[in-house]
Symmetry: C2
Subunit: 332 residues, 2 copies
Protein backbone atom coordinates (compact mmCIF):
# COMPACT_ATOMS: atom_id res chain seq x y z
CA UNK A 1 0.00 0.00 0.00
CA UNK A 2 1.41 3.38 -0.91
CA UNK A 3 0.50 6.93 -0.01
CA UNK A 4 -1.58 7.52 -3.15
CA UNK A 5 -3.88 4.64 -2.11
CA UNK A 6 -5.00 6.30 1.10
CA UNK A 7 -4.64 9.98 0.14
CA UNK A 8 -3.78 13.02 2.21
CA UNK A 9 -6.63 12.71 4.68
CA UNK A 10 -6.27 8.97 5.11
CA UNK A 11 -2.59 9.50 5.79
CA UNK A 12 -3.18 12.23 8.36
CA UNK A 13 -5.70 10.00 10.17
CA UNK A 14 -3.29 7.09 10.17
CA UNK A 15 -0.40 9.14 11.46
CA UNK A 16 -2.54 10.85 14.10
CA UNK A 17 -3.62 7.47 15.42
CA UNK A 18 0.03 6.46 15.42
CA UNK A 19 1.01 9.32 17.69
CA UNK A 20 -1.35 8.14 20.42
CA UNK A 21 -3.50 10.10 22.82
CA UNK A 22 -0.72 11.93 24.69
CA UNK A 23 -1.97 15.45 25.30
CA UNK A 24 -0.64 17.88 27.89
CA UNK A 25 -3.12 19.81 30.04
CA UNK A 26 -2.50 23.10 28.29
CA UNK A 27 -3.11 21.80 24.75
CA UNK A 28 -6.62 22.95 23.78
CA UNK A 29 -6.70 21.66 20.19
CA UNK A 30 -4.19 19.34 18.53
CA UNK A 31 -4.16 17.72 15.10
CA UNK A 32 -7.44 18.02 13.21
CA UNK A 33 -8.38 21.71 13.20
CA UNK A 34 -7.07 24.61 11.12
CA UNK A 35 -4.44 25.28 13.79
CA UNK A 36 -3.20 23.87 17.08
CA UNK A 37 -4.16 25.87 20.18
CA UNK A 38 -2.57 25.90 23.60
CA UNK A 39 -2.77 27.95 26.79
CA UNK A 40 0.24 30.01 27.78
CA UNK A 41 -0.41 31.89 31.03
CA UNK A 42 -3.50 33.98 30.35
CA UNK A 43 -3.04 33.77 26.58
CA UNK A 44 -4.14 31.16 24.06
CA UNK A 45 -1.67 30.68 21.24
CA UNK A 46 -2.37 29.16 17.85
CA UNK A 47 0.08 27.65 15.35
CA UNK A 48 -0.36 26.34 11.83
CA UNK A 49 1.88 25.32 8.95
CA UNK A 50 1.37 25.18 5.19
CA UNK A 51 3.73 24.44 2.32
CA UNK A 52 3.73 25.36 -1.38
CA UNK A 53 5.63 22.99 -3.68
CA UNK A 54 6.64 24.07 -7.20
CA UNK A 55 4.68 22.16 -9.82
CA UNK A 56 2.20 20.93 -7.22
CA UNK A 57 0.80 24.10 -5.63
CA UNK A 58 1.84 26.59 -8.27
CA UNK A 59 2.65 26.44 -11.97
CA UNK A 60 6.09 27.01 -13.41
CA UNK A 61 6.25 30.64 -14.51
CA UNK A 62 4.16 32.00 -11.64
CA UNK A 63 5.63 35.35 -10.59
CA UNK A 64 7.80 34.77 -7.52
CA UNK A 65 6.22 37.63 -5.60
CA UNK A 66 2.86 35.90 -5.97
CA UNK A 67 4.34 32.64 -4.68
CA UNK A 68 5.69 34.51 -1.66
CA UNK A 69 2.37 36.24 -1.01
CA UNK A 70 0.41 33.00 -1.24
CA UNK A 71 2.84 31.01 0.92
CA UNK A 72 2.06 33.30 3.84
CA UNK A 73 -1.56 34.05 2.91
CA UNK A 74 -2.59 30.38 3.10
CA UNK A 75 -1.30 30.31 6.67
CA UNK A 76 -2.99 33.60 7.56
CA UNK A 77 -6.20 32.02 6.29
CA UNK A 78 -5.82 29.12 8.74
CA UNK A 79 -5.39 31.61 11.57
CA UNK A 80 -8.45 33.54 10.32
CA UNK A 81 -10.37 30.26 10.33
CA UNK A 82 -9.67 29.97 14.07
CA UNK A 83 -10.86 33.54 14.70
CA UNK A 84 -7.34 34.38 15.86
CA UNK A 85 -4.66 36.99 15.04
CA UNK A 86 -1.32 36.10 13.40
CA UNK A 87 1.96 37.30 14.92
CA UNK A 88 5.19 35.50 13.99
CA UNK A 89 6.18 33.38 11.00
CA UNK A 90 9.07 30.99 10.38
CA UNK A 91 9.86 30.44 6.69
CA UNK A 92 11.73 27.45 5.27
CA UNK A 93 12.97 27.58 1.69
CA UNK A 94 13.91 24.35 -0.04
CA UNK A 95 15.89 25.46 -3.08
CA UNK A 96 17.74 23.85 -5.96
CA UNK A 97 21.28 25.33 -5.94
CA UNK A 98 20.86 26.63 -9.48
CA UNK A 99 17.93 28.87 -8.45
CA UNK A 100 18.63 32.51 -9.42
CA UNK A 101 18.97 34.67 -6.32
CA UNK A 102 16.69 37.23 -7.98
CA UNK A 103 13.83 34.71 -7.90
CA UNK A 104 14.17 34.51 -4.14
CA UNK A 105 14.32 38.29 -3.89
CA UNK A 106 10.98 38.28 -5.70
CA UNK A 107 9.61 35.64 -3.35
CA UNK A 108 10.61 37.75 -0.36
CA UNK A 109 9.00 40.84 -1.84
CA UNK A 110 5.68 39.01 -1.92
CA UNK A 111 6.19 37.54 1.54
CA UNK A 112 6.93 40.98 2.92
CA UNK A 113 3.87 42.49 1.24
CA UNK A 114 1.64 39.84 2.77
CA UNK A 115 3.36 40.14 6.17
CA UNK A 116 2.79 43.89 6.15
CA UNK A 117 -0.83 43.53 5.05
CA UNK A 118 -1.67 41.13 7.88
CA UNK A 119 0.61 42.33 10.67
CA UNK A 120 3.00 39.36 10.60
CA UNK A 121 6.69 39.45 11.58
CA UNK A 122 8.99 36.92 9.93
CA UNK A 123 11.09 35.87 12.90
CA UNK A 124 13.15 32.99 11.59
CA UNK A 125 13.41 30.04 9.27
CA UNK A 126 15.69 27.67 7.46
CA UNK A 127 17.22 27.26 4.01
CA UNK A 128 17.91 23.78 2.66
CA UNK A 129 18.97 22.29 -0.64
CA UNK A 130 16.42 20.26 -2.58
CA UNK A 131 15.70 19.12 -6.14
CA UNK A 132 12.31 20.80 -6.19
CA UNK A 133 11.58 24.30 -4.91
CA UNK A 134 9.20 24.65 -1.97
CA UNK A 135 8.40 27.23 0.66
CA UNK A 136 7.03 26.16 4.04
CA UNK A 137 5.61 28.66 6.49
CA UNK A 138 4.73 28.13 10.13
CA UNK A 139 2.56 30.90 11.54
CA UNK A 140 2.00 31.50 15.24
CA UNK A 141 -0.72 33.75 16.59
CA UNK A 142 -3.09 34.50 19.43
CA UNK A 143 -6.74 33.76 20.02
CA UNK A 144 -9.06 36.40 21.43
CA UNK A 145 -9.92 35.76 25.06
CA UNK A 146 -13.13 36.54 26.97
CA UNK A 147 -12.82 36.10 30.72
CA UNK A 148 -10.43 33.17 30.82
CA UNK A 149 -11.79 31.37 27.76
CA UNK A 150 -10.43 31.53 24.20
CA UNK A 151 -12.83 32.69 21.48
CA UNK A 152 -12.21 30.13 18.76
CA UNK A 153 -13.83 28.96 15.55
CA UNK A 154 -13.56 25.18 15.78
CA UNK A 155 -14.45 22.59 13.19
CA UNK A 156 -16.14 20.45 15.81
CA UNK A 157 -18.45 23.08 17.34
CA UNK A 158 -21.41 22.96 14.92
CA UNK A 159 -24.87 22.13 16.28
CA UNK A 160 -27.87 20.75 14.43
CA UNK A 161 -29.92 23.70 13.22
CA UNK A 162 -26.89 25.99 12.78
CA UNK A 163 -26.81 27.93 9.55
CA UNK A 164 -23.88 27.76 7.13
CA UNK A 165 -22.58 31.01 5.66
CA UNK A 166 -19.67 31.74 3.35
CA UNK A 167 -17.82 34.97 2.60
CA UNK A 168 -17.26 36.45 -0.87
CA UNK A 169 -17.74 34.31 -3.95
CA UNK A 170 -16.41 30.85 -4.68
CA UNK A 171 -14.67 29.19 -7.61
CA UNK A 172 -12.68 32.16 -8.89
CA UNK A 173 -9.34 30.73 -7.78
CA UNK A 174 -9.95 27.40 -9.52
CA UNK A 175 -11.13 29.20 -12.65
CA UNK A 176 -8.02 31.37 -12.50
CA UNK A 177 -5.83 28.28 -12.45
CA UNK A 178 -7.60 26.97 -15.52
CA UNK A 179 -7.03 30.30 -17.24
CA UNK A 180 -3.34 30.31 -16.29
CA UNK A 181 -3.00 26.86 -17.82
CA UNK A 182 -4.55 28.28 -20.97
CA UNK A 183 -1.96 31.06 -21.03
CA UNK A 184 -3.98 33.95 -19.56
CA UNK A 185 -2.16 37.07 -18.33
CA UNK A 186 -1.77 38.21 -14.74
CA UNK A 187 -4.31 41.03 -15.03
CA UNK A 188 -7.32 38.73 -15.28
CA UNK A 189 -9.58 38.95 -12.18
CA UNK A 190 -9.92 35.17 -11.94
CA UNK A 191 -6.16 34.74 -12.23
CA UNK A 192 -5.76 37.35 -9.50
CA UNK A 193 -7.95 35.25 -7.18
CA UNK A 194 -5.67 32.26 -7.82
CA UNK A 195 -2.39 34.14 -7.36
CA UNK A 196 -3.17 36.60 -4.56
CA UNK A 197 -5.82 35.26 -2.17
CA UNK A 198 -6.92 37.69 0.54
CA UNK A 199 -7.64 35.74 3.72
CA UNK A 200 -10.62 36.91 5.75
CA UNK A 201 -8.82 37.85 8.94
CA UNK A 202 -11.24 40.63 9.95
CA UNK A 203 -14.29 38.43 9.43
CA UNK A 204 -12.78 35.57 11.44
CA UNK A 205 -11.91 37.93 14.28
CA UNK A 206 -15.35 39.57 14.34
CA UNK A 207 -17.05 36.17 14.16
CA UNK A 208 -15.11 34.96 17.20
CA UNK A 209 -15.89 38.20 19.07
CA UNK A 210 -19.57 37.95 18.13
CA UNK A 211 -19.77 34.45 19.63
CA UNK A 212 -19.70 32.32 16.49
CA UNK A 213 -17.89 29.14 17.50
CA UNK A 214 -17.56 27.10 14.30
CA UNK A 215 -15.72 27.84 11.07
CA UNK A 216 -13.20 26.71 8.48
CA UNK A 217 -11.46 28.31 5.52
CA UNK A 218 -11.95 27.07 1.99
CA UNK A 219 -8.66 25.65 0.84
CA UNK A 220 -9.69 22.26 -0.56
CA UNK A 221 -13.16 23.11 -1.90
CA UNK A 222 -16.48 24.12 -0.29
CA UNK A 223 -18.00 20.65 -0.06
CA UNK A 224 -14.83 19.03 1.18
CA UNK A 225 -14.11 21.74 3.75
CA UNK A 226 -17.70 21.79 5.04
CA UNK A 227 -17.29 18.01 5.12
CA UNK A 228 -14.48 18.45 7.67
CA UNK A 229 -16.94 20.36 9.88
CA UNK A 230 -19.45 17.52 9.42
CA UNK A 231 -16.89 14.90 10.48
CA UNK A 232 -15.67 16.83 13.50
CA UNK A 233 -19.18 17.89 14.58
CA UNK A 234 -20.83 14.50 13.83
CA UNK A 235 -23.49 16.13 11.66
CA UNK A 236 -24.55 16.36 8.02
CA UNK A 237 -24.59 19.60 6.03
CA UNK A 238 -27.29 20.50 3.49
CA UNK A 239 -26.03 23.10 1.02
CA UNK A 240 -28.43 24.76 -1.46
CA UNK A 241 -26.79 24.89 -4.88
CA UNK A 242 -28.74 27.97 -5.88
CA UNK A 243 -27.44 29.89 -2.86
CA UNK A 244 -23.74 29.25 -3.49
CA UNK A 245 -22.26 32.68 -4.32
CA UNK A 246 -20.67 32.80 -7.77
CA UNK A 247 -19.07 35.88 -9.31
CA UNK A 248 -20.26 37.32 -12.62
CA UNK A 249 -16.71 36.85 -13.92
CA UNK A 250 -16.83 33.12 -13.19
CA UNK A 251 -20.35 32.71 -14.55
CA UNK A 252 -19.49 34.38 -17.82
CA UNK A 253 -16.13 32.63 -18.18
CA UNK A 254 -17.36 29.10 -17.45
CA UNK A 255 -21.19 29.13 -17.54
CA UNK A 256 -21.50 25.35 -17.66
CA UNK A 257 -18.95 24.64 -15.01
CA UNK A 258 -19.32 27.55 -12.57
CA UNK A 259 -21.21 25.58 -9.90
CA UNK A 260 -18.72 22.70 -9.93
CA UNK A 261 -15.77 25.09 -9.66
CA UNK A 262 -17.48 26.99 -6.84
CA UNK A 263 -18.26 23.83 -4.87
CA UNK A 264 -15.13 21.76 -5.43
CA UNK A 265 -12.45 24.14 -6.72
CA UNK A 266 -10.66 25.14 -3.56
CA UNK A 267 -8.04 27.81 -2.90
CA UNK A 268 -10.56 30.64 -2.52
CA UNK A 269 -9.51 31.15 1.11
CA UNK A 270 -12.97 32.43 1.91
CA UNK A 271 -14.39 31.62 5.35
CA UNK A 272 -17.23 29.27 6.16
CA UNK A 273 -19.03 30.29 9.37
CA UNK A 274 -21.51 28.00 11.08
CA UNK A 275 -23.88 29.24 13.77
CA UNK A 276 -26.93 31.42 14.44
CA UNK A 277 -28.02 33.95 11.82
CA UNK A 278 -27.79 36.93 14.19
CA UNK A 279 -24.23 36.22 15.27
CA UNK A 280 -22.99 35.67 11.72
CA UNK A 281 -24.74 38.81 10.46
CA UNK A 282 -23.19 40.82 13.28
CA UNK A 283 -19.72 39.55 12.32
CA UNK A 284 -20.33 40.40 8.66
CA UNK A 285 -21.52 43.91 9.53
CA UNK A 286 -18.67 44.73 11.89
CA UNK A 287 -16.01 43.39 9.51
CA UNK A 288 -17.58 44.87 6.40
CA UNK A 289 -17.33 41.51 4.62
CA UNK A 290 -20.38 40.23 2.73
CA UNK A 291 -21.51 36.72 3.61
CA UNK A 292 -24.13 34.48 2.01
CA UNK A 293 -26.19 31.87 3.84
CA UNK A 294 -25.98 28.67 1.85
CA UNK A 295 -27.44 25.93 4.02
CA UNK A 296 -27.71 24.33 7.42
CA UNK A 297 -26.34 21.62 9.67
CA UNK A 298 -28.67 18.69 10.41
CA UNK A 299 -28.61 15.33 12.10
CA UNK A 300 -28.24 12.84 9.32
CA UNK A 301 -27.12 9.43 8.23
CA UNK A 302 -23.66 10.43 7.06
CA UNK A 303 -21.15 13.05 8.08
CA UNK A 304 -20.63 14.98 4.90
CA UNK A 305 -21.90 17.96 2.92
CA UNK A 306 -24.74 17.27 0.49
CA UNK A 307 -25.33 19.76 -2.33
CA UNK A 308 -29.03 20.01 -3.16
CA UNK A 309 -30.84 21.40 -6.22
CA UNK A 310 -34.13 23.30 -6.07
CA UNK A 311 -36.12 20.10 -5.74
CA UNK A 312 -33.98 18.88 -2.87
CA UNK A 313 -32.19 16.28 -4.99
CA UNK A 314 -28.48 15.79 -4.44
CA UNK A 315 -26.04 17.05 -7.07
CA UNK A 316 -22.87 14.96 -7.21
CA UNK A 317 -19.63 15.82 -8.94
CA UNK A 318 -17.03 13.30 -9.99
CA UNK A 319 -14.15 14.29 -7.74
CA UNK A 320 -15.00 16.50 -4.79
CA UNK A 321 -12.24 18.82 -3.72
CA UNK A 322 -8.56 18.57 -3.59
CA UNK A 323 -6.39 15.83 -2.15
CA UNK A 324 -2.69 16.55 -2.58
CA UNK A 325 -1.75 12.93 -2.79
CA UNK A 326 -4.49 11.69 -5.07
CA UNK A 327 -5.76 14.47 -7.33
CA UNK A 328 -3.95 16.07 -10.23
CA UNK A 329 -6.16 19.05 -11.07
CA UNK A 330 -3.62 21.56 -9.80
CA UNK A 331 -0.01 22.21 -10.46
CA UNK A 332 2.19 21.25 -13.37
CA UNK B 1 24.00 34.87 -9.86
CA UNK B 2 22.44 31.73 -8.46
CA UNK B 3 22.01 30.37 -4.97
CA UNK B 4 25.10 28.16 -5.10
CA UNK B 5 27.23 31.28 -5.65
CA UNK B 6 26.32 32.87 -2.34
CA UNK B 7 25.62 29.74 -0.27
CA UNK B 8 23.23 29.15 2.59
CA UNK B 9 24.59 31.84 4.88
CA UNK B 10 24.94 34.45 2.16
CA UNK B 11 21.35 33.75 1.18
CA UNK B 12 20.04 34.06 4.74
CA UNK B 13 21.85 37.40 5.15
CA UNK B 14 20.47 38.69 1.86
CA UNK B 15 16.92 37.66 2.68
CA UNK B 16 17.13 39.03 6.23
CA UNK B 17 18.21 42.40 4.87
CA UNK B 18 15.32 42.19 2.44
CA UNK B 19 12.78 41.83 5.22
CA UNK B 20 13.79 45.14 6.75
CA UNK B 21 14.09 46.16 10.36
CA UNK B 22 10.42 45.78 11.33
CA UNK B 23 10.38 44.30 14.82
CA UNK B 24 7.48 44.36 17.25
CA UNK B 25 8.13 45.29 20.88
CA UNK B 26 7.66 41.78 22.17
CA UNK B 27 10.13 40.13 19.78
CA UNK B 28 13.31 39.49 21.79
CA UNK B 29 15.35 37.67 19.13
CA UNK B 30 14.52 37.33 15.44
CA UNK B 31 16.46 35.81 12.55
CA UNK B 32 20.07 34.98 13.37
CA UNK B 33 20.05 32.87 16.52
CA UNK B 34 19.21 29.19 17.05
CA UNK B 35 15.59 30.12 17.63
CA UNK B 36 13.30 33.16 17.62
CA UNK B 37 12.23 34.40 21.07
CA UNK B 38 9.26 36.56 22.01
CA UNK B 39 7.48 37.66 25.17
CA UNK B 40 3.96 36.39 25.77
CA UNK B 41 2.57 37.76 29.04
CA UNK B 42 5.06 36.65 31.70
CA UNK B 43 6.46 33.90 29.49
CA UNK B 44 9.18 33.93 26.85
CA UNK B 45 8.49 31.57 23.97
CA UNK B 46 11.02 30.20 21.52
CA UNK B 47 10.44 28.73 18.05
CA UNK B 48 12.74 27.05 15.58
CA UNK B 49 12.41 25.04 12.38
CA UNK B 50 14.62 22.47 10.69
CA UNK B 51 14.11 20.27 7.65
CA UNK B 52 15.62 16.96 6.53
CA UNK B 53 15.61 16.31 2.78
CA UNK B 54 16.13 12.79 1.40
CA UNK B 55 19.46 12.51 -0.39
CA UNK B 56 20.66 15.80 1.13
CA UNK B 57 20.40 15.30 4.89
CA UNK B 58 20.14 11.53 4.97
CA UNK B 59 21.20 8.70 2.69
CA UNK B 60 18.80 6.47 0.81
CA UNK B 61 18.33 3.32 2.87
CA UNK B 62 18.48 5.08 6.24
CA UNK B 63 15.97 3.39 8.55
CA UNK B 64 12.82 5.53 8.60
CA UNK B 65 12.61 5.50 12.38
CA UNK B 66 16.07 7.10 12.49
CA UNK B 67 14.95 9.78 10.02
CA UNK B 68 11.96 10.53 12.25
CA UNK B 69 14.11 10.67 15.38
CA UNK B 70 16.63 13.00 13.79
CA UNK B 71 14.00 15.29 12.24
CA UNK B 72 12.78 16.17 15.72
CA UNK B 73 16.15 15.86 17.50
CA UNK B 74 17.78 18.57 15.36
CA UNK B 75 15.03 20.95 16.44
CA UNK B 76 15.31 19.92 20.09
CA UNK B 77 19.01 20.73 19.80
CA UNK B 78 18.20 24.29 18.66
CA UNK B 79 15.94 24.70 21.70
CA UNK B 80 18.70 23.27 23.93
CA UNK B 81 21.10 25.79 22.40
CA UNK B 82 18.83 28.58 23.67
CA UNK B 83 18.73 27.07 27.18
CA UNK B 84 14.98 26.58 26.74
CA UNK B 85 12.48 23.70 27.02
CA UNK B 86 10.59 22.28 24.02
CA UNK B 87 6.80 21.89 24.12
CA UNK B 88 4.89 21.58 20.83
CA UNK B 89 5.91 20.47 17.35
CA UNK B 90 4.29 20.85 13.93
CA UNK B 91 5.45 18.30 11.37
CA UNK B 92 5.20 18.70 7.59
CA UNK B 93 5.78 15.68 5.37
CA UNK B 94 6.52 16.24 1.69
CA UNK B 95 5.99 12.84 0.11
CA UNK B 96 6.12 11.29 -3.33
CA UNK B 97 2.74 9.55 -3.87
CA UNK B 98 4.44 6.20 -4.44
CA UNK B 99 5.94 6.23 -0.91
CA UNK B 100 4.95 3.06 0.96
CA UNK B 101 2.72 3.91 3.93
CA UNK B 102 4.86 1.57 6.05
CA UNK B 103 7.84 3.90 5.56
CA UNK B 104 5.86 6.73 7.09
CA UNK B 105 4.74 4.48 9.94
CA UNK B 106 8.43 3.93 10.60
CA UNK B 107 9.14 7.65 10.44
CA UNK B 108 6.40 8.31 12.98
CA UNK B 109 7.75 5.62 15.29
CA UNK B 110 11.04 7.48 15.46
CA UNK B 111 9.35 10.86 15.81
CA UNK B 112 7.28 9.52 18.68
CA UNK B 113 10.33 8.04 20.40
CA UNK B 114 12.13 11.36 20.23
CA UNK B 115 9.02 13.29 21.31
CA UNK B 116 8.65 11.03 24.33
CA UNK B 117 12.33 11.28 25.22
CA UNK B 118 12.29 15.09 25.21
CA UNK B 119 8.74 15.87 26.39
CA UNK B 120 7.44 17.14 23.05
CA UNK B 121 3.81 16.96 21.88
CA UNK B 122 3.18 16.79 18.13
CA UNK B 123 0.25 19.18 17.82
CA UNK B 124 -0.24 19.56 14.08
CA UNK B 125 1.31 19.64 10.66
CA UNK B 126 0.75 19.27 6.97
CA UNK B 127 1.15 16.63 4.28
CA UNK B 128 1.99 17.67 0.72
CA UNK B 129 2.94 15.93 -2.48
CA UNK B 130 6.52 16.36 -3.73
CA UNK B 131 9.03 14.60 -5.96
CA UNK B 132 11.56 14.30 -3.17
CA UNK B 133 10.80 13.21 0.38
CA UNK B 134 11.38 15.72 3.17
CA UNK B 135 10.27 16.21 6.74
CA UNK B 136 10.09 19.71 8.22
CA UNK B 137 9.59 20.26 11.93
CA UNK B 138 8.78 23.49 13.73
CA UNK B 139 9.33 23.28 17.46
CA UNK B 140 7.95 25.77 19.95
CA UNK B 141 9.12 25.98 23.55
CA UNK B 142 9.66 28.15 26.58
CA UNK B 143 12.69 29.89 28.00
CA UNK B 144 13.40 29.81 31.73
CA UNK B 145 12.59 33.11 33.41
CA UNK B 146 14.26 34.76 36.42
CA UNK B 147 12.37 37.75 37.75
CA UNK B 148 10.95 39.12 34.54
CA UNK B 149 13.95 38.30 32.35
CA UNK B 150 14.40 35.27 30.12
CA UNK B 151 17.46 33.08 30.76
CA UNK B 152 18.79 32.54 27.26
CA UNK B 153 21.93 31.28 25.58
CA UNK B 154 22.48 33.78 22.77
CA UNK B 155 25.02 33.71 20.00
CA UNK B 156 25.74 37.40 20.47
CA UNK B 157 26.39 37.40 24.23
CA UNK B 158 30.08 36.38 24.34
CA UNK B 159 32.60 38.71 26.01
CA UNK B 160 36.35 38.92 25.47
CA UNK B 161 37.99 36.63 28.01
CA UNK B 162 35.09 34.16 28.10
CA UNK B 163 36.07 30.52 27.93
CA UNK B 164 34.72 28.16 25.27
CA UNK B 165 33.55 24.71 26.35
CA UNK B 166 31.96 21.87 24.42
CA UNK B 167 29.98 18.85 25.59
CA UNK B 168 30.78 15.22 24.73
CA UNK B 169 33.13 14.40 21.88
CA UNK B 170 33.11 15.72 18.33
CA UNK B 171 33.36 14.20 14.89
CA UNK B 172 31.57 10.93 15.54
CA UNK B 173 28.53 11.87 13.47
CA UNK B 174 30.62 12.83 10.44
CA UNK B 175 32.68 9.66 10.79
CA UNK B 176 29.45 7.68 11.02
CA UNK B 177 28.26 9.14 7.76
CA UNK B 178 31.51 8.11 6.11
CA UNK B 179 31.05 4.59 7.48
CA UNK B 180 27.46 4.43 6.25
CA UNK B 181 28.68 5.39 2.79
CA UNK B 182 31.13 2.53 3.02
CA UNK B 183 28.32 0.12 3.85
CA UNK B 184 28.70 -0.12 7.63
CA UNK B 185 25.87 -1.63 9.70
CA UNK B 186 23.61 0.23 12.09
CA UNK B 187 25.26 -1.19 15.22
CA UNK B 188 28.46 0.80 14.79
CA UNK B 189 28.91 3.47 17.52
CA UNK B 190 29.95 6.12 15.00
CA UNK B 191 26.96 5.31 12.80
CA UNK B 192 24.75 5.58 15.87
CA UNK B 193 26.02 9.13 16.46
CA UNK B 194 25.06 10.01 12.88
CA UNK B 195 21.60 8.42 12.96
CA UNK B 196 20.40 9.11 16.50
CA UNK B 197 21.86 12.32 17.90
CA UNK B 198 20.98 13.06 21.54
CA UNK B 199 20.57 16.81 21.97
CA UNK B 200 21.92 18.28 25.21
CA UNK B 201 18.68 19.61 26.62
CA UNK B 202 19.64 19.17 30.28
CA UNK B 203 23.00 20.88 29.81
CA UNK B 204 21.42 23.83 28.00
CA UNK B 205 18.82 24.23 30.72
CA UNK B 206 21.37 24.03 33.55
CA UNK B 207 23.67 26.46 31.75
CA UNK B 208 20.87 29.02 31.43
CA UNK B 209 19.92 28.52 35.09
CA UNK B 210 23.57 28.85 36.15
CA UNK B 211 23.84 32.21 34.40
CA UNK B 212 25.74 31.22 31.25
CA UNK B 213 24.43 33.56 28.54
CA UNK B 214 26.11 32.40 25.33
CA UNK B 215 25.88 29.12 23.46
CA UNK B 216 25.18 27.34 20.18
CA UNK B 217 24.70 23.74 19.12
CA UNK B 218 27.06 22.01 16.71
CA UNK B 219 25.11 21.28 13.58
CA UNK B 220 27.43 22.63 10.87
CA UNK B 221 30.82 21.92 12.46
CA UNK B 222 32.68 23.24 15.51
CA UNK B 223 34.67 25.97 13.76
CA UNK B 224 31.76 27.19 11.70
CA UNK B 225 29.32 27.20 14.62
CA UNK B 226 31.79 28.95 16.95
CA UNK B 227 32.27 31.30 14.01
CA UNK B 228 28.58 32.26 14.27
CA UNK B 229 29.21 33.24 17.90
CA UNK B 230 32.21 35.30 16.73
CA UNK B 231 30.15 37.15 14.13
CA UNK B 232 27.25 37.87 16.45
CA UNK B 233 29.51 38.83 19.39
CA UNK B 234 32.03 40.79 17.27
CA UNK B 235 34.94 38.76 18.66
CA UNK B 236 37.50 36.19 17.56
CA UNK B 237 37.73 32.66 19.01
CA UNK B 238 40.99 30.85 19.69
CA UNK B 239 40.49 27.09 19.83
CA UNK B 240 43.31 24.78 20.97
CA UNK B 241 43.46 21.79 18.65
CA UNK B 242 44.87 19.54 21.34
CA UNK B 243 41.93 20.28 23.63
CA UNK B 244 39.20 19.34 21.14
CA UNK B 245 37.53 16.21 22.59
CA UNK B 246 37.75 13.21 20.26
CA UNK B 247 36.40 9.76 21.06
CA UNK B 248 38.61 6.67 21.06
CA UNK B 249 36.28 5.19 18.44
CA UNK B 250 36.90 8.10 16.08
CA UNK B 251 40.63 8.18 16.75
CA UNK B 252 41.05 4.50 16.00
CA UNK B 253 38.73 4.57 12.95
CA UNK B 254 40.28 7.62 11.28
CA UNK B 255 43.59 8.41 13.03
CA UNK B 256 44.79 10.79 10.32
CA UNK B 257 41.52 12.62 9.89
CA UNK B 258 40.05 12.67 13.40
CA UNK B 259 40.86 16.32 14.12
CA UNK B 260 39.41 17.55 10.84
CA UNK B 261 36.20 15.55 11.35
CA UNK B 262 35.92 16.84 14.92
CA UNK B 263 36.40 20.47 13.90
CA UNK B 264 34.44 20.63 10.64
CA UNK B 265 32.22 17.54 10.55
CA UNK B 266 28.98 18.82 11.98
CA UNK B 267 25.81 17.03 13.06
CA UNK B 268 27.15 16.11 16.49
CA UNK B 269 24.45 18.22 18.17
CA UNK B 270 26.75 18.80 21.11
CA UNK B 271 26.54 22.18 22.86
CA UNK B 272 29.14 24.94 22.83
CA UNK B 273 28.95 27.09 25.98
CA UNK B 274 30.80 30.38 26.27
CA UNK B 275 31.30 32.14 29.60
CA UNK B 276 33.06 31.96 32.93
CA UNK B 277 34.65 28.69 34.07
CA UNK B 278 32.67 28.50 37.32
CA UNK B 279 29.28 28.91 35.66
CA UNK B 280 30.00 26.34 32.96
CA UNK B 281 31.38 23.84 35.47
CA UNK B 282 28.29 24.29 37.62
CA UNK B 283 26.05 23.58 34.59
CA UNK B 284 28.06 20.48 33.72
CA UNK B 285 27.87 19.18 37.28
CA UNK B 286 24.15 19.75 37.72
CA UNK B 287 23.29 18.21 34.34
CA UNK B 288 25.74 15.34 34.66
CA UNK B 289 27.14 16.08 31.19
CA UNK B 290 30.92 16.21 30.73
CA UNK B 291 32.28 19.35 29.09
CA UNK B 292 35.79 20.19 27.87
CA UNK B 293 37.30 23.67 27.79
CA UNK B 294 38.77 24.17 24.34
CA UNK B 295 39.63 27.86 24.04
CA UNK B 296 38.67 31.44 24.64
CA UNK B 297 37.07 34.50 23.09
CA UNK B 298 39.38 37.42 22.36
CA UNK B 299 39.34 40.78 20.65
CA UNK B 300 40.87 40.23 17.28
CA UNK B 301 41.23 41.30 13.70
CA UNK B 302 38.55 39.02 12.29
CA UNK B 303 35.35 37.52 13.56
CA UNK B 304 35.93 33.83 13.20
CA UNK B 305 37.24 30.78 15.03
CA UNK B 306 40.98 30.08 14.65
CA UNK B 307 42.20 26.55 15.41
CA UNK B 308 45.70 26.62 16.91
CA UNK B 309 48.33 23.92 17.30
CA UNK B 310 50.66 23.58 20.30
CA UNK B 311 52.95 26.34 19.02
CA UNK B 312 50.04 28.72 18.51
CA UNK B 313 50.11 28.39 14.73
CA UNK B 314 46.78 28.22 12.92
CA UNK B 315 45.65 24.92 11.42
CA UNK B 316 43.48 25.40 8.34
CA UNK B 317 41.33 22.81 6.63
CA UNK B 318 40.17 23.02 3.05
CA UNK B 319 36.45 23.39 3.54
CA UNK B 320 35.29 24.35 7.00
CA UNK B 321 31.89 23.05 7.96
CA UNK B 322 28.75 22.48 6.12
CA UNK B 323 26.84 24.76 3.81
CA UNK B 324 23.71 23.11 2.42
CA UNK B 325 23.84 25.03 -0.80
CA UNK B 326 27.53 24.76 -1.54
CA UNK B 327 29.00 21.64 0.01
CA UNK B 328 28.46 18.07 -1.07
CA UNK B 329 30.04 16.06 1.74
CA UNK B 330 26.73 14.83 3.08
CA UNK B 331 23.75 13.07 1.58
CA UNK B 332 23.44 10.87 -1.46
Amino acid sequence: MDVSDIGEFGLIKRLTAFLGPRKPDNLVLGIGDDAAVWREGDAYLVATTDTLVAGVHFLAGTPWADVGWKALATNVSDIAAMGAEPAFALVTLSVPPETPVEDLDGLYTGLRECATAYGVTIAGGDVVRANQFSVAVTLIGRARVAGSQPLLLRRGAALAGDLIAVSGTLGNAAAGLRRLRGGAGQDDALVGAQLRPHPRLALGREAALAGVSCGIDISDGLLQDVGHICEMSCLMALVKAQAVPISDALRSAYPDDALRLACTGGEDYELVLVGGRDLIERAAASSGVAVTFIGEMVDGPDRRARLLNDSGKEIEFGAEGWDHLRASERGA
